[in-house]
């Protein structure tokens, strides 16, 4: 009668306290340069050592440039950014933690490299000082973001003090139409339930449409669970999961693999498991989705016009929407297809895996990026980049007028020099459209990679379905 979440949770409880808080064991800890320096410093100050070295895996991603990678550290012009990356190197060396360094082909966005390496396995508990750790739930793991104090806590104890969350089931029925992708599912879901719709819950994504998604598609969906307020999102383990994990560098092999897949058979919710709430969404009814506001709830189908905040029932949402329209320089009733774009960004832990690049390239192939905008493709990892180059996707993008960059978070959060200038408007495959997220006063429209590519060519938000006929 247990949900998948209940099962993984129960298998990791070290101790339970009367008050409901538990000490939860953590199998995998991913580390990057931005949220770890203060945690390592804390260890040092307290004279503590990491509890279990091989549970940790580090890589720089947030703060690194996406040009001149071959120069290594010398290619980082911003001295403060460089200090942070050097500090990660130093800390990993001092504490003997495995790192894929800047020049390692396996370097990339933490949430891309974890699954790519098989460093995240079904049934694990996974944490990282980054809210999009929810991505890894796609593999049937319990994965969530933590703050820096918790990074230090996990380093020192291999545990977290946790309160169990409630169970939410999100069922995506039907199948996706052409031109509609995993990204559109999750945007539509957040539109439906709101940015706090799943606060306090772990979501399990179920239903025919989720079953039919590839692992990478499931990662895109789980990735944005946090945008719906859930710390974690999960998908049950099935053949798709096993097919993805098998043969990856950190994954078990031989007899161990057989043992593992046997144990993983149970990584699904029991038939009669009860959920605290259920949401059902019909994939057949979905058009490509576009965000128009400054949080990922303010979304419309590409055919719809921008709604009037006055029609919103909830006062807080209406107030947020008013503010968003002003910030985005948009008006109710307007169509996003009429608003010119300045930039297009294809990248981030939501949408920078090989299938994302393939989807974008299939739209871009033989076409030209509109002359009034700049378009950027930033692969999620060195290996994704390599794979794309092997398939000739880099050339498709370059021929179409996209820039082809080195892996990292890039313009998802614009900590490096890839960013929007004030009032610039961008179609982006990332996950957050908050004010200034992609650059001071920048304006972000969240879309799928295919929609991003179509929009780059059109020069404004475009309906990718018209490009696929």
């Amino acid at each position: 009668m247990a949900t998948l979440y209940d099962k993984i949770w129960d298998a990791h409880v070290v101790g339970q306290r009367d008050d409901g808080l538990s000490l939860l064991y953590i199998d995998r800890h991913l580390i990057h340069e931005v949220t770890s320096p203060q945690a390592f410093e804390g260890l040092r100050l307290a004279g503590r050592n990491p509890w279990r070295l091989d549970a940790n895996l580090a890589t720089p991603d947030h703060n690194i440039p996406t040009r001149n990678r071959r120069l290594g550290m010398a290619g980082i012009e911003d001295p403060i950014a460089k200090e942070q990356v050097v500090t990660l190197d130093d800390n990993c060396r001092e504490f003997d933690i495995r790192q894929f360094e800047l020049l390692d082909v396996r370097q990339g966005i933490v949430h891309v490299i974890g699954p790519e390496q098989g460093a995240v396995l079904p049934g694990m508990t996974v944490v990282c000082g980054d809210s999009h750790t929810s991505t890894h739930g796609a593999l049937g793991t319990l994965a969530h973001g933590i703050g820096t104090s918790e990074v230090e806590h996990v380093l020192a104890t291999q545990c977290l003090v946790q309160q169990k969350s409630r169970n939410m089931r999100v069922e995506i029925t039907g199948s996706l139409n052409q031109g509609v992708y995993a990204k559109d599912i999750i945007l539509a879901l957040i539109r439906a339930i709101g940015t706090a719709g799943a606060t306090g819950h772990t979501i399990e994504y179920t239903g025919e449409a989720v079953r039919s998604l590839t692992m990478e598609g499931r990662m895109t969906v789980c990735n944005m669970s946090i945008e719906a307020g859930a710390r974690a999102g999960l998908v049950a383990v099935d053949e798709t999961t096993l097919g993805y994990v098998e043969g990856r560098p950190f994954a078990p092999s031989g007899a161990r693999w057989q043992e593992a897949i046997e144990a993983w058979q149970d990584l699904k919710s029991d038939k009669d498991a009860t959920f605290d709430s259920t949401v059902v969404l019909d994939a057949n009814a979905l058009a490509p989705q576009v965000s128009w506001g400054t949080n990922p709830q303010l979304v419309v189908g590409v055919d719809e016009s921008i709604p009037d905040p006055a029609t919103f029932e909830d006062e807080a949402t209406a107030e947020t929407a008013e503010r968003a329209l002003k910030y985005m320089d948009l008006r109710p009733g307007e169509s996003l297809k009429d608003v010119p774009l300045d930039k297009v960004f294809i990248g981030s832990c939501t949408n920078a895996r090989i299938e994302d690049l393939r989807a974008a390239a299939s739209v871009a192939k033989g076409r030209r990026v509109s002359t009034n905008l700049e378009a950027l493709v930033v692969p999620g990892s060195g290996l994704v980049k390599q794979q794309a180059e092997n398939e000739g996707l880099d050339q498709v993008f370059i021929d179409a007028g996209f820039e082809w960059r080195d892996p990292g978070c890039s313009m998802c959060l614009a900590m490096n020099d890839d960013r929007l200038m004030p009032r610039e408007r961008c179609a982006s495959t990332s996950n957050r459209n908050f004010e200034g997220r992609q650059g001071h006063l920048g304006r972000t429209h969240l879309v799928s990679p295919a929609t991003a590519a179509a929009s780059a060519i059109a020069g404004h938000i475009a309906d990718v379905r018209e490009f696929l006929q």
Binding site: G15, G20, L21, L23, Y25, D27, V34, T35, P37, Q38, A46, R52, D54, H62, N63, A81, E83, Q84, Q117, G118, A119, M124, S131, G145, I146, G147, T148, S149, E150, H153, A156, T157, Q158, C159, T195, A196, T199, I226, G229, P249, F250, P252, S253, R256, W257, A260, A263, N295, A316, T317, E319, T320, R323, L413, A414, M415, E435, G436, R437, H440
Partner: protein, 220 residues
């Protein structure tokens, strides 16, 4: 006497009303300040993009900057505020603990809102910032009072789980008893967990037996 920054018993201070819902951590402390490897120095860039017309960077002196006139934290009446009042889903988005550090270093000890995002809520307790959850109606009432000409002062008593102030303001709030106790005493969570080191080791022994592939040493 040295003060334990993790400890919170009772606090009285001026309330700054930030009348916005869904305030995200990107606003509380914009990303360019996350490049710091230190735990301090974030206070002056709290809500940087809302507080200043120009774009802030690490180390840019405040005297050279152009404040946004009508932003609440630039209002001299709230210059000494130490309690932030906000609307629902406060501090959603990024997990950056820098948001909590920035609030504390700007002088805030407590945030009152109808609801908080999960990660921020946790982070707050790990740093001695008290998030107080009141009902929508109570927060509405507080906004009505706090936005009048004369700023209001509130007392937040963690032991009593009470928020009280001037004109018959008196509310109770719920809080998890363990977190409450930890904060009242200012206990270090890691130290507390390490008291269970034997339990963790025993767990690992069971866990490796059931899932040996997790402990094979990494193959890559």
């Amino acid at each position: 006497m040295s003060v334990n920054p993790l400890q919170f018993e009772r606090h009285t201070g001026v309330v700054a009303p930030l009348d916005k819902a869904n305030v995200d951590t990107d606003q509380i402390i914009p990303k360019q300040f996350l490049k710091s490897i230190k735990r301090t120095g974030f206070g002056e860039n709290l809500f940087d993009a809302w507080r200043f017309e120009d774009e802030g960077t690490i180390g840019k002196p405040l005297s050279e900057r152009q404040p946004v006139r009508d932003f609440v934290l630039n209002d001299s009446r709230y210059a000494d505020a130490s309690i932030l009042l906000a609307r629902e889903n406060f501090a959603c988005g990024s997990s950056r603990e820098h948001a909590v550090w920035a609030l504390l270093q700007a002088g805030f000890r407590c945030v009152i809102a109808p609801s908080f995002a999960d990660i921020f809520y946790n982070n707050s307790f790990n740093n001695g910032l008290l998030p107080v959850q009141l009902t929508h109606a109570e927060v509405d009432e507080l906004f009505a009072r706090a936005t009048q000409r004369q700023p209001i002062e509130l007392s937040v008593d963690l032991g009593e789980q009470a928020v009280t102030g001037g004109d018959n303001l008196d509310y109770r709030f719920e809080i998890d008893p363990v977190r409450k106790n930890r904060m009242l005493k200012g206990l270090d969570e890691i130290g507390l967990t390490l008291e269970h080191a034997d339990d963790i080791k025993a767990f690992e022994t069971r866990h490796v037996k059931a899932n040996p592939w997790l402990f094979d040493g990494d193959r890559a």
